[in-house]
């Protein structure tokens, strides 16, 4: 039984993720106003070429993508664009990179690149642990 559980856990860790869809060119028009990005959540697949056009709706704002270290800065009436290849999978924070007002630190968004396999695997492993707990406890009682 322990062996079976251990092999399932190994499988969860080692089985590669299904092949990603063919890379696309993705274009997002993101509005930036005090103190939010609209839309605040962007989704892409790994390998996609992402272009974000930043439009400010009030004062000067910036957009910085955590993990990719790219940024753009838009003044009202002057949109700015940034292009990068989503080479890393995961969830990344978007931040305003210009001190734009009192709530500037809370002007956040997110970029989701691909399904979150790390989280899915972690959840599966946690589920396995929960299953395994009663089994090992019963064994210990015997």
């Amino acid at each position: 039984m322990t062996l079976a559980l251990a092999s399932v856990a190994l499988a969860v860790i080692l089985i590669p993720a299904p092949a990603a869809a063919a890379p696309l060119e993705r274009f997002f028009r993101v509005g930036a106003g005090q103190y939010a990005f609209t839309p605040a959540s962007l989704r892409a697949n790994p390998g996609d070429t992402i272009t974000i056009e930043l439009h400010s709706t009030d004062v000067t704002h910036g957009l910085y993508v955590d993990g990719y270290d790219v940024s753009a800065e838009a003044q009202p009436g002057q949109p700015a664009a940034l292009t990068f290849i989503a080479s890393r999978a995961g969830v990344f924070r978007l931040r305003c990179s210009v001190t734009c007002g009192t709530l500037h630190p809370f002007m956040l968004g997110r970029l989701v690149v691909g399904p979150n396999w790390t989280l899915a695997r972690a959840a599966a492993l946690a589920g396995l642990a929960v299953l395994a707990a009663p089994l090992t406890l019963r064994k210990a009682a015997e």
Binding site: T57, D58, T60, Q75, P76, G77, V98, T99, C100
Partner: protein
Amino acid sequence: MRAETLARLLVLGLAAAAVGFPLAARQRPPLLHARLAEQGGWAPDVLRAEAGQPLTVRLTSDDVLHGFGVGRTDFEAVLVEPGKVTEVTLTFDQPGIYTYYCTVWCGLNHWRMRGVIEVRGSDVQAGAPTPPLYAQLGIDIDAPHPAETTPAERPNALAAPVVALEFSFDQYAAASPAQLWSSLGNQPGLENLTDAQRWDLVAALWARQTSPAALAEGETIFRQDCAACHGPQGAGDGLYADDLASAGQAAMQGLAGAPDMLMQSPPDWQDPAILLGASPALLQGKLLRGGMGTGMPMWGAIYTDEQLWHVVAYLYTLQMDYP
């Protein structure tokens, strides 16, 4: 006895420090605080300097990101960041009053963030300054100026008939395209031109007064400083246009105490009757002076005359095609 000497030395030392520290602090370059216009703008908003002597200023922001630029000089604007101190050194060759201003859109009243540098010097220029062109020509820049006739199609300078015609800068500045179009009809030798050809000729004459480089600079300035209210295509639909009509009025009352002052939305330059009815001197005057009560900033303190003429030349390309 020894204790008394020590006590005397201590008192003397403290007294010297009390006088010396403030004196030493005054020797440091002044610290200029940038604040949102609603919070009072620049503090201090007047700096003094001597012509030919370097003026060092330390800059910091008390709230958001600002910029520091000095109008009508070659000084390259710097960013003023909260929590940081930026030091700049300015040298003015000519005495006069220079305007420093914020170069980053920091809030609705961004353009109200201005201060002046009074530069004193020995070589005071003689005589009164020349009045701006619109004043010399007696143009009322606040009066409506609709064009009586508008072209059926967009005038194109490249399609214009080739005619030998004297056309000076003064003629260009004084008349609107529509006025020139009417007067060209009475010109001997041009009677045979169709209406469309005459409009093309107007565009060609306008093109003579500018160059591609000048138009490019005019467009850059327009994108940077005008598009936020006037709209990217000059249709008067910029981001701030709505705010001007609503929040802007309240802001004006707070600042000037004039309750009757009405904020106006920017004009729609996609309407040929509005743009082609305006003479270059009128447009340059509006840029130079700004609109009293309209929310239009005064650009005369920021841009040189040459830069303002470049913007004017660019504006007409919204209605006419010329290289």
